[in-house]
Symmetry: C2
């Protein structure tokens, strides 16, 4: 807009005083002005982009300070390894062996200890096996004459690289040894093509393995000692957090459906809570990768070395199965076609009871997973949930009768007229209106059934991971009675 | 068991003939036998594992021969780069610059062209910027005296490595520059810590960039010339294939529900087809990564350079939204509680019509996406689908009436008795039984509505990607009339 104004101004000026030099000056000042405006705009854009980027980065850091700490950890590890070499005059070339230590640190250092171990072990094992293999082939090639030597070496590189690359497509290998295979191909090619004599290669291999070991050691020490992040623990927390999210979502969705008018205030945070199940829908990838990495971790905290991480994936799958159904429930709740409020009122209490019961079951198994203790009250809670399912089914069965008995004044009058004429009760007329309510109720029942699947999966997890059993004799633990107390009043809700 | 038998045999022998030497011989032969059994078992296990692994690998190769070709391509590229250096006496050390070419090929070569380009460009740009930056800091450090020099270098490594590592947590940067940042940190640390003089470094940097360029060039040439796999095309095909899967699933599920007895033969392939929507549920990760890589690809085949790849993600999201609902429908169809067959029969035709109409819409947009032509018949098909939705709603509305009018013999008698006593029609009684049918029907309606969302997303894609418009004057194309013809008879189904 500034430029447009400027152009108009210039035009006016030229029209009124058409002298050559003045016009040129004007043109020049116009250009300067334009350039200045452009520069200012550029600077403003850059500044605003940088600040928005900074804000985004700041938010990420504030949300999870461990990410900032991870950055610092990488800095520490790199500085350590570089100081190690800087203080000693060992570094006699960019290609020297010290390089491998720096490279190892940069490439291996991952956010979780499992990631570090996975890459470190893969790198070490792949380097040594590929190195040995390449040395052997090198020796054979050197014995078979100058002409055959390059053929043997090239064809071995071709064959091994092709086979190893293809093996990366096999899911099990991909999950556990992907990085190792890259390093295997790399080391094999480097050694096989190097053109060194075997004794020289042995010295080099020794140096290289030594520097890689130093790199891996520095990585692991920094990774484990400075605020470690364990992939296993992350998976454990992710799964139990997702259960809480499912529970919250379910409660909110059903409450939202039956008490729409009461939720106007604080609606944003409310709808955020009700959409928590969407995180569950999208958490497959991170669960898979964390379970993969957790396998490499030694025992830590409450988790033994052979902790059944793969069972967490089954729990996760059961939760997703549940979340799919909640997606459909959400769609049904937010659909345009809705049952009238007076019909909803008939099922409100029993539906709320079921959703509360189901969410309590989820919360109970979540806290059981979190604390790694068998749950004392889960059987009672599941029974309550099942009772609520039955109650809802009974309520659904009696709904048409109720509707015929107590329609709202207007509907009653209308229904009465129709009933007289056609001998068709109000239930028939309003069936179409009740349908969305039916669908919602059936989906709610289906959700509870699927929660049963989650409970089973968690039960298997409890057995496999040897959760702390319930002490039947002393029921005076601090957690369980509170849970049971909190259950009782809810039955009167 | 063999070992157990063996041990018993030994015991018997020792009891009957307790001579020293004979017992020893027996013990020896026992051990030999044991060892032989163990060895045979070991060999058998290894052989069976290897064969099962081989079968698995063979199946993967047969399912997608491009994976085998990819392996061969990597072999070719590595052989090329190694021959390049083997034939010239340039290679004067494992750490020589030639190493970088080999390393570049191993690390950069990816399955898709987009992956190769992403890594190649990231590597080249990151190496040059980090190298330049490190040179600058090196120069500053060398000017500031021997004591301050290591401090400046180490602290710059620490700060840059920390900041760069943290920046990898920012989603946009992670998606586009993750690999580049690793290489940036690596190059910067290597150069900054190297301890060379600046002029020496310049020569090294030049050599290194040259060898990396050679590596990238070889990779790209092999990747693009030998049976290229384009990430963009993969995404394109994945999305349209997923639409077909959704269509097939929906048809099968509904058919399965209403004609359970007719589908006994060939049930396996049938149930496989009906579960196709599960692929859609799990395809988010591959869609995301392919869309990320497709951005780096130049125009290829029917796709321009600025093809709207991100819109494919929106289409994918709309399809998943649809698949969630089909998950719930599947649950409902496979649930234990089922509406009686005679009730199902009332809705069978109209539900089948709707599912067929919906699946036709999906197949039509799938073929429109596949051929990148605007669809001629999509509006008609969507209209038909919406009509079928309305028909189903009408049928649902009239269902209670129909049920009261024509119950099956047994039910009719029962209903009649109850009706006389309580003046409650059969509709009320059987409502609970009809409920699963209602739920299935509502979910079917919801699925069609969500398919509408997919149609909209594909419409946007057609606009953004400039699909070939319909030629209104010449309707004699080979595809469209056949589609329209195939639509007509189905209306009589």
């Amino acid at each position: 807009m500034a430029i447009e104004k400027e152009a108009q101004g210039g035009l006016e000026w030229r029209v009124s005083v058409p002298e050559g030099s003045a016009a040129e000056m004007e043109l020049e000042s116009k250009w300067i002005h334009r350039a200045r405006t452009w520069l200012i705009q550029l600077v403003m854009t850059v500044v605003s982009k940088v600040t928005s980027f900074g804000k985004k980065a700041g938010k990420i850091g504030a949300d999870d300070p461990r990410k900032v700490i991870h950055g610092v950890k990488v800095g520490i590890a790199l500085t350590l390894v570089s100081l190690f070499y800087y203080t000693r005059p060992l570094y006699d070339g960019v290609g020297g062996c010290a390089m491998w230590a720096v490279m190892t640190v940069v490439v291996i250092f991952e956010f979780t200890v499992g990631g570090c171990l996975y890459k470190g072990i893969n790198r070490a094992v792949a380097t040594s096996t590929a190195g040995t293999l390449a040395l052997g082939i090198h020796w054979i090639a050197s014995k078979s004459g100058e002409k055959v030597e390059p053929i043997i070496l090239s064809s071995s590189v071709f064959l091994l690289a092709s086979a190893a690359t293809f093996s990366r497509f096999i899911p099990n290998i991909k999950a556990r040894f992907d990085y190792g295979i890259t390093i295997f191909i790399l080391t094999f090619s480097l050694v096989a093509v190097s053109g060194y004599r075997v004794d020289e290669l042995l010295r080099l291999a020794q140096e290289r393995i030594c520097t890689i070991a130093i790199g891996v050691a520095i990585c692991l020490v920094v990774c484990v000692l400075v605020r470690p992040v364990w992939a296993g623990q992350e998976l454990h927390l992710l799964v139990s957090r997702n259960m809480d999210k499912l529970a919250d979502s379910l409660e909110c969705l059903v409450e939202d459906y039956f008490m729409k008018d009461k939720t106007v205030e604080g609606e944003v945070s409310y709808s955020q809570r009700s959409q928590g199940y969407k995180n569950v829908l999208n958490s497959k990838a991170s669960e898979d990768s964390q379970a993969n990495l957790a396998r490499w971790e030694p025992g830590h905290g409450k988790f033994g070395f052979k902790h059944p991480w793969s069972q967490y994936l089954k729990v996760g799958a059961a939760m997703r199965y549940c979340a799919y159904c909640m997606e459909a429930l959400n769609g049904c709740i937010n659909s345009e076609i809705q049952a009238p409020e007076h019909m909803k009122r008939h099922l409100r209490d029993v539906c709320m009871r079921l959703s509360l019961g189901t969410s309590k079951v989820l919360k109970e198994i979540s806290s059981s997973v979190k604390s790694m203790k068998e749950s004392r009250s889960i059987q009672v809670l599941v029974e309550e949930m099942n009772n609520a399912v039955e109650e809802l089914q009974v309520a659904l069965r009696s709904l048409p009768k109720q509707l015929t008995q107590s329609p709202p004044p207007a509907a009653a009058a209308e229904a009465a007229t129709i009933e007289k004429r056609h001998c068709v009760p109000a239930a028939t007329i309003s069936l179409m209106e009740v349908m969305p309510l039916f669908t919602a109720a059936s989906l709610l029942i289906e959700v509870s059934e699927r929660v049963g699947g989650v409970v089973d999966a968690v039960g298997t997890l409890a057995t496999l991971a040897c959760f702390e059993p319930i002490d039947h004799k002393k029921p005076s633990s601090s957690v369980v009675p509170r849970d049971e107390e909190s259950v009782k009043p809810s039955q009167e809700v």
